[in-house]
């Protein structure tokens, strides 16, 4: 999340809290609709239901703004509300409808990607598909950790679970991603640089 985004959230939230400001609510709605909808859609895979849930999440968020302690976390808080609603919906429905993927802009339309960029883009797409295939509870923690950059304790507080549980969900999510991507164990080593790693030694006999 960039600094501009944070300023927008804090100013807009202040306006909302001070008075029931419809314009401020609309600004937040427009700023956060896409990513909230995307998170819900990834859990439900149903456009209409995702729309209903996203709408409901905004209503609940606006009505419960006083529960939000840090305005800079509005996006993460909203996505927790939305994804929890989506999970509850799934539990009730106990079935998943597969639909077409959402329209999204991918790659470079003018075809000016270098080979390196094209490879990276394909890798990103593979990881993106694997993330979509995660179970909802693992998807939730991956999004909070890697998109919203929340600390483990912050995720735990938002999801009302223990930090140790967040830890194990994250670990399982990464393992699941590696499985989905059919990576070997060595490739699961997470680093910021993603540099080459040595092979893991075989088990001692």
């Amino acid at each position: 999340m960039n600094e501009e985004g944070k300023t927008l959230e804090q100013d807009t939230l202040r306006a909302l809290v001070n008075r029931n400001d419809s314009e401020a609510q609309r600004t937040l709605f427009e700023a956060y609709y896409r990513r909230t909808y995307a998170a819900v859609y990834n859990i439900l895979r149903r456009r209409e239901a995702a729309e209903d849930i996203t709408q409901d999440a905004f209503i609940r968020a606006f009505r419960n703004l006083d529960h939000l302690q840090d305005g800079a976390k509005f996006g993460a808080w909203l996505v927790v509300i939305a994804s929890n609603l989506a999970r509850n919906y799934l539990k009730r429905e106990k079935r998943i409808y597969l639909t077409d993927d959402l329209p999204s802009s991918q790659g470079n339309p003018d075809g000016s990607d270098t080979e390196e960029e094209a490879i990276r883009s394909l890798e990103t797409e593979r990881v993106r598909e694997a993330i979509r295939a995660l179970p909802p509870e693992q998807y939730q923690v991956i999004v909070l950790q890697y998109y919203y950059d929340l600390k483990m304790e912050e995720i735990a507080a938002m999801l009302k679970i223990r930090p140790g549980t967040v830890k194990s969900k994250l670990f399982r999510a990464r393992r699941r991603l590696a499985d989905l991507l059919e990576l070997d164990e060595e490739a699961v080593c997470l680093t910021d640089e993603g540099g080459d790693r040595e092979q893991w030694p075989k088990e001692e006999s």
Binding site: Q25, R34, Y37, A38, R60, L85, Y89, I119, K160
Partner: protein, 254 residues
């Protein structure tokens, strides 16, 4: 083309994938959705906990009602036929159940916080790396000058062996010293399980001088065996050096 390069699941790649996922979506916030939100918010005295109204569900319920009424009507007609008694007829159980879905169940609704079934919040869980150990073994109060014992913990993950450990800190540098509780576990397996407990997979393993050096989340770690029991020193914050871990191991962990 992409197959030529082996994919590495890096944190950057996950971040990039999520950024594309959330920021490239071409679903603009529709006016009609905003109007619905606005009208809901304008309603006075409504709590934030009512259920979402799904038109598709309402249509399904209406269809079920029609079927139930039709079946019920047919049943009554059947009973009223000459030669039939009430005792001869059985109301299908399915009909009763079907009527049941007309009733809104409070169990369906959970609060927007959606508390996890399996976990209750536990404010006593101080460390994200484990649970406080109620019955700790002896841990030296200080490993090196300034590197002071903070708390004894149990590193545990469901279904895996647990280890007892202690957190030592000096300023922002913290490390865990942990030991296996049972002898005989392969040291590589021990390191794998430890990675599970600490979330980050162990990387860059290198065996030298009876020790396994590796990294967890880019920080140095050191594992060794003593009398069949595995032990590990692993940095968890700040930047303890591998040399410092070796020095601690040589001095304290005999």
């Amino acid at each position: 083309m992409a197959e030529r390069r082996k994919l590495k699941l890096t944190e950057d790649l996950i971040r990039e994938a999520l950024k594309v996922e959330f920021e490239s979506i071409e679903i603009p916030p529709a006016d009609r959705i905003w109007r619905r939100i606005e009208s809901q918010l304008a309603k006075p005295g409504t709590s934030g906990r009512e259920r979402t109204f799904f038109w598709s569900r309402a249509a399904a319920v209406a269809a079920v009602c029609l079927v139930v009424v039709a079946i019920g009507g047919l049943g009554i007609w059947w009973i009223m036929q000459p030669g039939m008694s009430v005792a001869d007829s059985v109301v299908p159980a399915e009909s009763e159940e079907s009527v049941g879905i007309m009733e809104a169940s409070d169990e369906d609704w959970q609060s927007f916080e959606a508390p996890e079934n399996e976990i209750a919040d536990d404010s006593t869980a101080v460390s994200p790396f484990g649970e406080p150990d109620p019955d700790p073994p002896f841990w030296p109060p200080e490993l090196k000058p300034g590197l002071v014992l903070q708390e004894a913990i149990i590193l545990t993950t469901a279904g895996e062996p647990y280890y007892k450990g202690a957190i030592y800190c000096r300023g922002d540098i913290c490390l865990i010293w942990a030991r296996s509780e049972e002898a005989g576990e392969l040291i590589d397996r021990f390191i794998d399980h430890l990675g599970g407990h600490i979330v980050f997979p162990p990387c860059e393993r290198e065996k030298a001088n009876g020790m396994v050096q590796f990294t967890i989340d880019g920080r140095p770690a050191l594992a060794w065996q003593e009398d069949g029991f595995n032990q590990v020193l692993v940095g968890i914050s700040g930047s303890p050096s591998l040399e410092e871990l070796i020095e601690i191991k040589e001095k304290e962990a005999r």
